[in-house]
Symmetry: C2
Subunit: 148 residues, 2 copies
Amino acid sequence: MRNEDLPLYFQFFNEIGIINQLGRAAMEARFSDGLLMSHFTVLNHLIRVQDGQTPLKIAQAFQMPKTSLTHTLAGLEKRGLIEMRANPDDGRSKRVWLTEAGSAWRDAAIAGMGTEFAVVAQAFPPERIADALRLLTELRKFMDAARD
Amino acid sequence: MRNEDLPLYFQFFNEIGIINQLGRAAMEARFSDGLLMSHFTVLNHLIRVQDGQTPLKIAQAFQMPKTSLTHTLAGLEKRGLIEMRANPDDGRSKRVWLTEAGSAWRDAAIAGMGTEFAVVAQAFPPERIADALRLLTELRKFMDAARD
DNA sequence: ACTAAATAATTCGATATCGAACAATAGGAG
DNA sequence: CTCCTATTGTTCGATATCGAATTATTTAGT
């Protein structure tokens, strides 16, 4: 990397960070029951991939300390959005299952986001977003693979 | 927004979130003295804009609750990276000043990031990043302005 | 000048995050 | 089987985040 390119990459990640913060705040403001992005992310993952995952699997999927996930799962369970049952295949681990309420909450959260997205979509048409998304997806996969 | 475009925007912000998390973790791993991105962001802001800002100004610049900033500033002050002095123009507020150590720590942090960026730059040349950066900057400004 | 409303920062309490240490179980080597 | 190591999840302690209430000061209205 040429030295004069450093600010470019720096600024890139900087903008990513700010957009993430703004987007996150906007979405969390619409979440009911004091739930946060971490909770939503887990529920969404269980629907996208499949429920019945072990906590460790989920933590790895998000590159997240498993100790943080324990706490997030506890919050979801307390609110009745997931159920944790023993794993018959391995006495050490558990399996995480969505409840009806969990599935419904996730759907409602996504519907709520639509309102936010519509505002963005007014100014940024799908083609532009899709264009940038290609790079972002590629970059995410690269960074994910580059983790030691 | 057409309904079938919703997943596109959703996925876009999702990738932003993951990249942010991966980038953040990689950078924080290099920060000395247990400092976090929040600390770096404040120091960097004081250099970019100008030090002597009031806490409220800084909090607004980051769309961040001022109560969180109080805590971040306390951490920076405890480590001698900033100094807070009374504001002669307004008895309610204070002004935040960088110390030599604060400035040096920020420079070292950026230098450390260079190593991470170089890996990314191998696979993603400046032109591609600059291209995406244009959209991101525009989007960030838009979202920033759209805040109520 | 006096009072009321607005503003700056902090304190408080509840929750989140995360590294280190831990208990329980699994699995492999002998 | 027994011992040793690896793996899974939790607990614990320290710090971070953030909304609500609080204190001090300024500004606006009269």
